[in-house]
Symmetry: C2
Subunit: 366 residues, 2 copies
DNA sequence: AATTTCTTTGGGAGCGCTCTCAAAAGTTAT
DNA sequence: ATAACTTTTGAGAGCGCTCCCAAAGAAATT
């Protein structure tokens, strides 16, 4: 529509560039009449300040980056990330920030993306999904200048800012619940063992067992990778060792595992009980509703942005930490009686286990 | 690590700012020795050019925006969008572009986001998910300067650049297949009827019926909104009218509908056959594998970025159009024997081979 | 009426790059 | 050796804004 600059508006309004700048930036030190006049002209001309010029002069871009490293990029097969992204995007809007998304697909991508991340005048801050310990990208970002907040506890947490949920006590409460219900042979399907998430949930499992004075049977712990299929495969292995309850480190794996259990002709929770982790929307619409640890994924994303922006504005020293709480949601797969939260709607819906990966809810698109 | 600027590097290398700039931008007009020397210093100092300054001077930001309007923002409940985003992100990396994601949650967001989108010096181009016809955001973007590519045919297509799949012939082939198999009472579950996607798929349905000389029974067409639950609800209505086959306009709705059918005690495909649309990965891992129209979602995102960048570089006149092909993937829910099109080489693939194709998220064949 | 204080405005100096143009240096041809 | 190119380098003028500082004007104080 136009290529006007501040100067042009100034001329049109008969004021100086500075004054127009003040109006645009809502500075209080402008006379009411002048402000009105300038605003009107801006309105009429459809003037929009140039973002690059503004960033250069102010040393602020109002952009933050969300980086999903290569080691985590089974990304879009897991509903976790869309939910997270949504939270992050939402919070960015609230803060008038623009969100840039960096999906690192492979090593090549990483080489290509890293310099863009490090470039000054690009991002005010970075949200980095925690990945493996040997993540090169991780190291380079840590040692850079940009305010950086890691999503999920990193392996080397020394002086790095991160936000996480309390995976240990969350897992502990899940397993303790199974113990309380009297299950004797409790198995676990882990996530990708190179993630702290998985390590911490395993620690919680061990703590719960120890507190109950139970021995851990190593054959009842099988490694998964957070995917539905890995849950299915893991469960097939586990069946040979006759568990009576399973703690799956993610809902998606729980769903895969339950599929294996049902195919084998067992009943849930009568023969084998289940507790998952995440509390994805689907958990409450399964035919046998999944008992699981609720973690506030979208909220997690929002909190992360809030914290990052705080860091940007107030500096990152000392290292920032934020740990969010989780909540065990008891439904049907763990046996015992169902104590569902009143907020759980959709609990009426029945569904085949194979709806598993699909979430319900109004989708309008394509 | 440092706050060096071009000037500093120049001083260190004993050359001028211009020369360093040439090295950084890989200009050919630099002496080999000079280049080497400068490169080494850049390497050692860890210098990275300032993005804002560069954008301001060059009038190029190397950023593109992906905008999901409000009318479409049940976004992250539908696997379609993560797949699309992945494709877009992938292509951006290839083009050394940064992707900014704009999720418009509500009217407030829209007001907040619009100016950011319109601001010059921010985005080189915009990818806009097609929404409703009365979308204010749509209008404002159309009438702005930024190169704009709409994902999905918009209602007013006059002089707007868009990319889409051939929904009409895709739907037609799906329905023709059911007709060929001899089904007599073919029903349809539509998507959100205010989207062109849904309208086009309905047109395809009608064309197939017309070509076969069939009357359309309006009671066999029920409106959904692309969500799993809407498929379930729609199917409950449809059951009263005894259809023997259903064309669902999305896989997710097909899954919901099949859930309803099974609950009612019918068998698939014996009592009621199904064809879906999308070919999400889950379609091939269902207990009864879903016959569906494959649309290359991720690939669609890639093509979109390619086209947009082409527009940015070469201008947008005349209006650009790109229509991608789809492919009917015959599996188990449609009954009958696999009738493959002679030209389809994918039709040879069964089960796991097909899965492989789908899991790669790719089917890169156009 | 003169002085002080506060508010409103304008001017100028960058922010760190790109890009054109001309000068300098190096090549080849005459 | 000189002329005529070609390649390599440097200088300067922006890109469009912010932000500090000082000037001007208005209001309040003496």
């Amino acid at each position: 529509m136009n290529d006007l600059k501040l100067e042009d508006i100034a001329k049109l309004a008969g004021v100086s560039r500075s004054t127009v700048s003040r109006v645009v930036n809502a500075s209080p030190n402008v006379g009411a009449a002048t402000r009105k006049r300038v605003e009107k002209i801006i309105q009429n001309t459809g003037y929009h300040p140039n973002a690059a010029a503004r960033s250069l002069a102010s040393q602020r871009t109002n952009m933050i980056g969300l980086v999903i490293p290569r080691t985590t990029s089974a990304f879009f097969t897991d509903p976790y990330f869309p939910h997270l992204t949504q939270g992050v995007a939402f919070a960015c809007n609230n803060h008038h920030m623009t969100l840039s998304l960096f999906l690192v697909g492979n090593q090549e991508d990483e080489n290509e993306i890293t310099p863009r991340l490090l470039r000054r005048g690009m991002l005010d801050g970075i949200l980095l999904q925690s990945g493996n310990s040997d993540d090169m990208l991780f190291r380079r970002l840590i040692s850079s200048q940009v305010p950086l907040l890691v999503l999920g506890r990193p392996f080397e947490e020394k002086s790095v800012n991160y936000i996480d949920v309390d995976n240990i006590s969350a897992a502990k409460s899940a397993v303790s619940h199974l113990l309380k219900l009297g299950y004797q042979r409790i198995g676990m399907i882990t996530g990708a063992i190179r993630s702290t998430t998985s390590v911490d949930r395993q620690t919680g499992f061990e703590q719960a067992m120890a507190e109950a004075g139970r021995e851990i049977d190593p054959s009842l712990i099988v490694e998964g990778d957070f995917s539905e299929n890995s849950g299915y495969v893991a469960m097939k292995k586990l069946l040979a060792f006759t568990p009576d309850a399973i703690f799956a480190q993610s809902d998606v794996m729980a769903i895969g595992a339950m599929r294996a259990v049902q195919e084998a002709g067992f009943e849930i929770p009568k023969d084998i009980a289940f507790v998952g982790f995440d509390d994805l929307p689907i958990a409450s619409t399964l035919p046998i509703k999944l008992t699981t640890v609720h973690q506030p994924i979208t909220h997690f994303g929002i909190k992360a942005v809030d914290l990052l922006i705080d860091m940007i504005e107030k500096g990152t020293k000392p290292a920032k930490r934020m740990i969010l709480d989780t909540e065990l949601i008891i439904r049907d797969t763990c046996g015992g009686k169902s104590v569902s939260r009143p907020t759980d709607q959709g609990a009426e819906m029945e569904g085949s286990a194979l709806n598993a990966l699909i979430q319900t809810g109004g989708a309008i698109h394509h």
